[in-house]
């Protein structure tokens, strides 16, 4: 077996050199990203600086507040607790809706996968409701739920739920039948097969479902906050912040709100990805 031992040593060396390579690539790509963003900001600044230097207004950018104006507005907002409260409200809603969708969606999808009777009863209804877009639920949700907070959370839940269920179900169906046969031939019980095979077998799909779903929740929360704020309740949140800035005519704040949501969405996706990767340690390399 000495040949194999030396092979595995070579493998480790290759792996560590790959890590070094990745570090280099990372550095170059980081620099490139920084340059690309700076260039975009520069063009934006030039475009938004008014018709002066080009003789004509550039569409869209020409009507937008310049990055300098946005940065200035932002510097004021950073000290404003209302702005941070918007962050907190949206973030809380997203996490609440997302967590409940995961907590309900994963067992629901697993139940659909392993119990044919349950599937026959509930899957048609599920498929019937699934094409209804989350935002179409907003008015009904406001009517159904006692508080505005709950109705927004429900709409977010709807947005994430279907994605998670469909992924769990698809993942469970994709588990190789031979793995189950192998487990049974080694004496595994039904409970064993569920906990030690189906569950880890579905984990990669749960991970994908969660990663996609967190993105959807941000789309939904912003729209839900805009719509529900129109009904008179001051629900707050980043979506409401944008809408309110629009109504109030403070255009730089609109852009600040947009960028804030971008950052929040990116951060929560990254957090979910990091957490979900722990679900599937065997897929790390």
């Amino acid at each position: 077996m000495s040949s194999e031992v030396s092979l595995s040593v070579a493998g480790h060396e290759r792996r560590s050199s790959r890590v070094n390579l990745r570090r280099k690539l990372f550095a170059v790509s980081t620099r490139r990203a920084a340059i690309s963003i700076l260039l975009a900001l520069l063009l934006w600044q030039l475009g938004a600086s008014g018709p002066g230097w080009l003789g004509a207004r550039i569409p869209i950018i020409g009507a937008a507040p310049s990055p300098v104006a946005v940065a200035e507005a932002w510097s004021h907002l950073v000290a404003d607790p209302h702005y941070w409260r918007s962050w907190y409200l949206s973030l809380f809603r997203v996490l609440f809706g997302f967590a409940s969708a995961t907590l309900v969606g994963v067992p629901f999808g697993l139940l659909l996968a392993v119990n044919p009777t349950f599937r026959r009863i509930s899957y048609p209804v599920f498929e019937l409701l699934r094409p209804i877009p989350p935002l179409a639920w907003v008015p009904a949700s406001i009517i159904f739920w006692p508080t505005q907070e709950l109705s927004i959370a429900f709409v977010i839940f709807i947005g994430a739920f279907y994605t998670i269920v469909i992924n769990v179900l698809g993942g469970a169906e994709a588990i190789d039948i031979r793995l189950i046969q192998a487990a049974r031939s080694m004496g595994a019980s039904r409970g064993n097969i569920f906990w030690r095979l189906i569950l880890p077998g579905v984990a990669p799909s749960i991970r994908v479902g969660m990663e996609v779903a967190i993105g959807i929740t941000w789309e939904v929360v912003v729209a839900a906050e805009m719509i529900s704020s129109g009904s008179g309740g001051a629900g707050g949140g980043l979506g409401f912040f944008i809408w309110n800035s629009y109504i109030g005519g403070s255009y730089p704040n609109i852009v600040v709100g947009m960028i804030s949501i971008g950052i929040a969405g990116y951060a929560s996706s990254a957090a979910v990805r990091l957490a979900a990767t722990r679900l599937t340690p065997w897929q790390r390399s």
Binding site: V5, A182, M186, A188, N192, R196, P200, Q283
Partner: protein, 278 residues
């Protein structure tokens, strides 16, 4: 090698019939197949693609029922007229074509799976036993890697050890070395024989590879094109223990020519019919 080990694992197939009935068009996969496999024998099953050899193996394993005949293990009926489907159990562990290691378990945990699932070892004991068995099989150093991180040849060896830890009466191997390159195969063949000489487990081994069949087997059973039944049974009179020098021996070549002739005829029938693999 003790006597009681070899007295386990005699498989007896009597007039086994297996019919598939997709869309009402019944297709006979196995037709009154009778075969006696002795305890401690390496019995190689060779036949053209789609001939029904895997159906036979699945029936022995208990993955599906049979439509006639009976299968017995050491005299005890597994399935027959009274019960058409054999129970699935660790006395007949299957190693599959493309491997069926659990990708989310380390190699060590894969091997420790059976005894823990059956409840006759604690997790710690099973891991310890798995560690010892891996070392004996030359797999030391790969305990904590996931199957996805090691070569396919290594995976197959892990899988054989995973089957053996259950102390089965029969190992059911369904083309375990398919799709491996010739050099890896030859290493695995010798490793398998090494394990066999230590354990003397009955091995029921399906393959397409004639060289593999003759090199490993006490007997090579050539199956007919579908429906499957033994066409000819070759006693391989090359003495065990064997190593790879056997491959170039005159006797080996003679047997290979005979077996090839028997297989070729059936393969042609199967090919003309356009049988699918698997």
């Amino acid at each position: 090698m003790s006597a009681d080990q070899v007295s386990r694992g005699a498989l007896s197939l009597d007039n086994v019939v297996k019919i598939y009935d997709p869309d009402g068009a019944s297709v006979m996969a196995v037709d009154h197949c009778s075969l006696q496999v002795e305890a401690g024998e390496i019995c190689m099953i060779v036949g053209p693609s789609g001939c029904g050899k895997t159906s036979l193996l699945n029936a022995i394993a208990g993955f599906h029922e049979i439509d006639g005949g009976s299968i017995r293990l050491d005299g005890q009926p597994l399935c027959g007229p009274a019960r058409r489907q054999a129970p699935i159990g660790p006395d007949r562990v299957v190693v599959f074509q493309n491997g069926a290691l659990f990708p989310w378990k380390s190699n060590l945990e894969n091997i420790a799976f059976g005894p823990v699932a059956q409840g006759w070892l604690s997790r710690a004991e099973a891991r310890e036993r798995a560690r010892v068995m891996m070392a004996e099989a030359g797999l030391a150093g790969y305990e904590d890697e996931y199957p996805g991180q090691v070569s396919s040849g290594l995976r197959r060896r892990v899988e054989i050890v995973r089957a053996l830890i259950n102390d089965p009466a029969v190992l059911l191997l369904d083309e375990p070395y398919r799709a491996l390159d010739a050099l890896t195969k030859s290493v695995l063949h010798e490793a398998l024989l090494e394990i066999y000489y230590k354990t003397r487990k009955t091995i029921f081994f399906i393959t397409h590879d004639l060289e593999e069949a003759i090199f490993l087997g006490h007997r090579v059973v050539v199956m007919t094109a579908r429906p499957c039944r033994p066409k000819r049974i070759f006693e391989i009179d090359i003495p065990h223990p064997r190593d790879y020098s056997v491959l170039t021996s005159k006797r080996f070549r003679e047997i290979a020519a005979e077996v090839a002739e028997a297989v070729n005829e059936e393969a042609l029938k199967s090919f003309v019919r356009g049988e699918k693999e698997g």
